[in-house]
Subunit: 326 residues, 2 copies
Amino acid sequence: MTQALPDFDDVKAAASRIASKAVHTPLLNHPALDERVGGRVFIKPEGLQRTGSFKFRGAFNALSQFTPEQRKAGVVAFSSGNHAQGIAEAARILQMPATIVMPTDAPEVKKQGVIARGAALKLYDRETESREEISEAIAAETGATVIPSYDHPHIMAGQGTCGLEIFETLAGLDVQADQLACCLGGGGLISGIGLAAKALSPKTALYGVEPDGFEDHKLSLQAGARLPSPRKSGSICDALLTPMPGELTFALNKKQLTDVAVVTDDEAMAAVRFAFETLKLVVEPGGAVALASILTGKVDAKDRTTVIVLTGGNIDPAVMAQAIRA
Amino acid sequence: MTQALPDFDDVKAAASRIASKAVHTPLLNHPALDERVGGRVFIKPEGLQRTGSFKFRGAFNALSQFTPEQRKAGVVAFSSGNHAQGIAEAARILQMPATIVMPTDAPEVKKQGVIARGAALKLYDRETESREEISEAIAAETGATVIPSYDHPHIMAGQGTCGLEIFETLAGLDVQADQLACCLGGGGLISGIGLAAKALSPKTALYGVEPDGFEDHKLSLQAGARLPSPRKSGSICDALLTPMPGELTFALNKKQLTDVAVVTDDEAMAAVRFAFETLKLVVEPGGAVALASILTGKVDAKDRTTVIVLTGGNIDPAVMAQAIRA
């Protein structure tokens, strides 16, 4: 079935639904970053969110709308890791069973986070197996509901609460953002942020940022139709390795995005290091690409007011040690 | 000369003085920390402050009150590192010369931070040389003003703005904190926070936290008079290795502190790791001792509302790698 696209009212409803469980993350400013890029930058640090990424927003919004029968049968989710954490945590809070389908090469810290929250973990090979098929098989067997990581109206509306917080906070400061940069995997977060931006700050240009080799949204926007990523695996930005834009997310993103920037793994890792050294925030590579986009000038922040979303902080210690090595 | 003790009016005046240059750091809450300690915890993350620690508050408050003649001759400061960053940055902003006297074993990242801000760096041996004498000699030669790292009313009032922000934010949330835990080196920060607490939240108990071997404040409070630390060097908590409580800071702290907890290096490093894994904040060992105090139960946070101040994030990459090693 084709599902309806979410709208701004859905984002506001999601905000009410998650208010007592999600963290209202702050909007930070750091003079050293402002000096570095020559503009004014506001940082939305979603690593400070419950489960260490924005994903809890959409997960809790989706699961809290389950019927009593659905709650009893539980949820199945496939995810490179952060959606998995969000679903496992939301299921724990709502006391429903959860099975998480994750790639074998997902960071250990993300696998452990799922197990620690009491969810069942099912691993698959990113190159040879289909996570969708595995998930559907589990759902067919158990009656559980599949909640995809981005292409679902409740997920998109839930992630949109991140944008709602950003633009409400900026309005309180009497600040108008010229542009916002946010990492782009399946496009759930930026599609939801776009709904909030269109309603609350329509002059703010929205930039997605993708890792090199996984620029499916960039290619799709250029073609005007959904196209796959050139690669399937192999980037350090594990959170952003989606095969193709979602049907629903692309329907919004093709209208709402101004452009997409592409950054390399080295640029992402340099941004992880900058966040460690200067911002004192723990950010995973995939969560650092928006920061990378302004540090490299691929999104030009000079003499502008820019919002960047640092989407997650679930980084393996070994990767962190590699990023900060002198 | 004996200087007058600062009061709450001085803290409020400092807040106005630093408002356009310092970061108003957020007050964070993390469900996983609340669950872990069984209480409600508010986190004041001063690593997000300009220069990566609260020290900029006092430094800018002090330097911005220099006379034109003093500005021209500049400032001298001795510091294990974070006060040095704060003074160097404040001097850079106010365009005055600065000389920083630092111990040879200070973290490299802190030495580099001073140099990068254009200040002159003078190293000394923590075991054999007197930083006070070296600083006074420089001051005598150049006419510069010595600004000590804690025992100065303008420094104490400036650090107090951290407490002012905490209690104003809590009042806005209609929350009364039962207790506040904060690391304790020379005692400048907690003495200033105490001024704010006494005025805005007099029922909040104040706990200092010192590293094992450097519990000069704990011993001094027990004796009712200033006593030196048992040790002079050798803790991972480089920010807290002061030889003795300050005259002014102790005069306030002996009235304002409820008690002092003492944590080991291992407990501090475990807190650095918890901040990395769960809070997604970069915290240096000395800045993590208040977190360590509630994680260990040395300050009991169960069924209480506790504020902890994470005072800084200037940690060498090698120490961070050590803390987060699996």
